[in-house]
């Protein structure tokens, strides 16, 4: 009796799933798990861990070049991998919904919201009459927290905000009333407040409608309040699976602990520890445990055979020969610059800065940056934080106002600044994939500023480049490589190295870790703290309050182009005065 009841509530049953690239190189292997109705599973791992491959394999899809070669996926009792053509198309959508990462590109820009929903219902032939279809759409829109009036249905995706677009994606998935919904990092492009609202909506919908969900994320903090169970993936294997409480209170696999130790927490400043080394590329898995070469607890047995998932306690399985038993230790950390003790003259003074494109993005912003401190500029998208940083760097167009650098007036355009001044202010860009010229080797990229600013060439330049590569923890051999053979974190290090070669006094970092994995982020933040200790002044732009707590001495909160609050990090984050700061803090994901 009990068994039958359990049978009917199991929505997803995956066993022995294996996905291979050409040449029998596995990207996913031996994945088995099941999900009950209404259960939300968090699927966590860094880039390249196979989490997106697993998510799409649940829809019987593999990206080009990959192939699902073994295993079973049963959704609501139906075997999915055997389906083909029309039957498979019918199952996708009505049995399993999918919500993609970037709603801006996932929604067809030529179709109105109403048509998108109508079309989705029409292709799945639910045999609803017009009134029932309309009713279904209106209910779904209400469920996901969108307006249901005809004006809204006539809008195009580009007329909606990012959060609304993602809600439309949710509506498109839920309107078919699927049994399972797969979400691939649906909130990474969104602000924290919007993210928190979307996550709350998602949890409410799954619980009330009994829909099971697989939520893919690279950030454990984000999913902490959403999921019931967490599955951690590494190099195409499940390394740990546990209920939420068990995982966050007693993480057992060294990799899970490494991930948790790398996440900056808004609740308190603590040491961030990056996981050393790289995740293995497909086909380059080491013998035995895939995490072995990066593991602190590596022992002889680890390289002999691959550890299988073993139950540790009920509902907690881990694939490790020497799992940890203790909760994670958090190490507190002191800020570098003691803000109050400073009486130095400001390194950079901004007064009355206005920036306007087709609309005004910065209103009369004034701030001071003291030598040796790290000032964080915080705000949501559209707050003008990047415009402010670009104006300081001399990249801003349409900026007005006064900048003073070390007491001297600083022109607003980089071109008008003296070379002697220009090299002292350096800017590091958000996207490491576009910050380096793809047609130049790392050495060419790095030696150019040396020749330009200091007329250093030849072997002297080579020496300096090698020294700076060492400073950013990259091997000298990187110099001969082109950017496409580097990972995101390595590219960002090269970009930092390029800035360091200019011998800067002020380093502007524009969301430089937002495109990176948490562990890589931890190592970059560590590098920046190192640089700050060497006397560099940092202007750090970010939307992540956890990062602010980890790195900044002072923080300045921007809201739609105006400064709403500023002060020492701990006092602002612990006793926020402005209502906006309070909202931001409330919605920031935290491990605490």
């Amino acid at each position: 009796m009990n068994a039958i009841a359990q049978m009917t509530t199991t929505v997803l049953q995956v066993s022995g799933l294996r996905v291979e690239l050409a040449g029998q190189v596995d990207v996913l292997s031996g994945v088995s798990f099941s999900l009950e109705a209404g259960e939300i599973l968090g699927l966590v791992g860094e880039s390249g861990s196979g989490k997106t491959t697993l998510a799409t394999a649940l829809l019987a899809h593999a990206r080009r070049g990959a192939q699902i070669v073994g295993g079973q996926v049963h959704v609501a009792g139906q075997a999915l991998l055997g389906l083909e053509g029309e039957a498979l198309r019918r199952a996708r959508g009505s049995l399993i919904g999918y919500v993609a990462q970037d709603p801006a590109t996932a929604l067809n820009p030529a179709l109105r919201i109403g048509s998108l929903l109508d079309e989705t219902l029409a292709v799945h032939q639910l045999r609803l009459d017009k009134a029932a279809q309309r009713q279904r759409i209106i209910e779904t829109l209400r469920d996901v927290g969108l307006p249901d009036d005809p004006q809204f249905l006539r809008r195009f995706p580009h007329q909606l905000s990012g959060g609304q677009q993602q809600r439309v994606m949710l509506a498109l998935a839920f309107v078919l009333q699927p049994r399972l919904i797969v979400l691939d990092e649906p909130t990474t492009a969104l602000d924290v407040t919007t993210q928190a609202h979307i996550l709350a909506t998602l949890r409410r919908l799954c619980k009330s409608q009994g829909v099971a969900a697989v939520y893919v994320s690279h950030d454990l903090a984000v999913i902490k309040d959403l999921v019931d169970r967490v599955m951690v993936m590494y190099a195409g294997r499940i390394v740990e699976t546990a209920t939420r409480d068990a995982l966050f209170s007693r993480p057992s696999h060294p990799y899970t602990r490494g991930l948790l130790a790398a996440i900056p927490d808004v609740a308190g400043r603590r040491e961030l520890r990056a996981i050393g080394g790289h995740a293995p590329a497909p086909g380059q898995r080491p013998q035995g445990c895939g995490f072995g070469p990066r593991c602190e607890r590596f022992r002889a047995g680890c390289s002999q055979q691959e550890p299988l998932l073993q139950p540790l306690s009920p509902g907690h399985e881990v694939a490790c020969l020497a799992p940890h038993g203790q909760p994670l230790q958090r190490i507190a950390l002191a800020p570098i610059a003691a803000v109050d003790a400073r009486t130095d003259k400001a390194l950079l003074e901004i007064s009355g800065l206005n920036v306007a494109y087709d609309r005004q993005v910065l209103f009369d912003v004034s701030l001071q940056l003291l030598p040796g401190e790290c000032l964080a500029l915080v705000g949501e998208s559209g707050s003008g934080k990047t415009s402010l940083a670009r104006a300081v760097a001399g990249l801003g167009e349409n900026a007005e106002g006064e900048l003073r650098y070390a007491g001297q007036p600083l022109p607003l355009q980089a071109r008008q600044r003296e070379a002697g001044l220009r090299h002292q202010i350096q800017y590091i860009f958000q996207n490491p994939y576009r910050a380096l010229n793809p047609r130049q080797t790392v050495y060419q990229t790095l030696s150019a500023p040396l020749e330009h600013f200091f007329a250093v060439k030849g072997s002297a330049a080579r020496e300096r480049v090698e020294a700076v590569l060492k400073r950013v923890s990259l091997p000298a051999s990187v110099g001969e490589l082109y950017p496409h053979s580097l990972s995101g974190g390595e590219r960002q290090r090269v970009a930092i190295a390029r800035a360091l070669l200019c011998e800067p006094k002020l380093l502007i970092c524009d969301e430089i870790t937002s495109a990176l994995d948490v562990s890589v982020q931890a190592s970059i933040l560590d590098l920046l703290r190192q640089l700050q200790r060497d006397g560099l002044t940092l202007l750090f732009v970010t939307h992540d309050l956890g990062v602010v707590r980890a790195i900044a001495d002072r923080v300045l909160v921007l809201k739609v182009g105006r400064v709403v609050e500023q002060g020492a990090v701990d006092s602002v984050l612990d006793q926020p005065q402005a209502a906006y700061t309070q909202t931001l803090l409330e919605h920031s994901p935290s491990l605490g």
Partner: protein
């Protein structure tokens, strides 16, 4: 241009095939005059005489040996099309890069000029200039390249705009690198591939246009041997001695095909390179 890029291109079978065909036609044009059994202007046989013995392709309208004229007549059309395409590439990409980076009045001026001349049919433009100023080879090359330049400008500008928005160009601007350095060292290498593909296409069009000009009587002056001219000269005898027309036409076609798939192959292998980049 690095070694790795060329070896990457040659990995594409289509590129190898295109390169082989193009090189064969170029070899015929280069070494042909040395191999020709007769001089290109020697009248050695009957008018429109059929192929016999050593005259594999027969004789043309004045009794020249077609094979000899064919072997001697490739050089002019090839060097002229290569020269025209090269000039167009150099001038057009410089202007296009300038337009793409400045994005202001200079951009508007260059784009406007390119648009106006694009609205003019290529061949008419060339015919107009050649009929007014004469038919010296360098003038023909220049006019053909002028006809090609607007297309190159449009392509270079569009590609440069896409690259100029990327952060590494902003980084260069912030460092205060000279405009020339940014144009030719930062942006140009990143738009070289579409430009080279376009260069291949221009070679094809150039051969076609030059042959067309010769055919219309505005190209290379007789009695010089030239593939395009040969088609024009011998059209009257097409039914009696088709080889005199077909042979140069086939070579022009083969060269066009070769350069075209060479360009296509290069385009393909770099598109594949793009796929790998996130």
């Amino acid at each position: 241009m690095s070694k790795t890029r060329i070896s990457r291109w040659l990995a594409e079978p289509q590129t190898r095939k295109g390169a082989l065909i193009t090189l064969l036609v170029i070899a015929v044009a280069l070494f042909g005059p040395l191999l020709a059994p007769h001089g290109s202007t020697d009248m050695v046989g009957p008018v429109y005489g059929a192929p016999t013995g050593w005259a594999l392709l027969g004789y043309d309208f004045l009794g020249h040996d077609v094979l000899s004229r064919l072997l001697s007549g490739g050089l002019s059309v090839l060097w002229m099309s290569v020269a025209a395409a090269s000039i167009a590439l150099a001038v057009g990409s410089t202007l296009g890069l300038l337009a793409g980076l400045s994005r202001r009045r200079l951009d508007q001026l260059i784009t406007w000029l390119a648009d106006v001349s694009l609205a003019f049919p290529d061949l008419i433009l060339v015919l107009l200039i050649v009929s007014m100023l004469g038919r010296a080879p360098w003038l023909i090359v220049l006019t053909v390249s002028i006809a090609f330049i607007p297309g190159v400008i449009r392509l270079a500008r569009a590609s440069a705009v896409a690259v100029a928005g990327q952060e590494f160009v902003e980084a260069a601007q912030m460092m205060g690198y000279s405009r020339r350095r940014i144009l030719f060292k930062e942006i140009l290498p990143n738009i070289l591939t579409p430009l080279l593909v376009h260069f291949g296409n221009m070679l094809t069009w150039g051969v076609g246009m030059l042959s067309g000009l010769s055919f219309l009587g505005y190209g290379v002056a007789p009695p010089t041997a030239d593939w395009g001219l040969m088609i024009n000269e011998n059209q009257a005898g097409l039914l009696v001695q088709p080889w005199a027309v077909l042979a140069p036409a086939v070579l022009i076609g083969v060269f066009a095909y070769g350069t075209n798939i060479l360009a296509e192959g290069i385009g393909r292998s770099s598109a594949r390179l793009g796929e790998k980049q996130p």
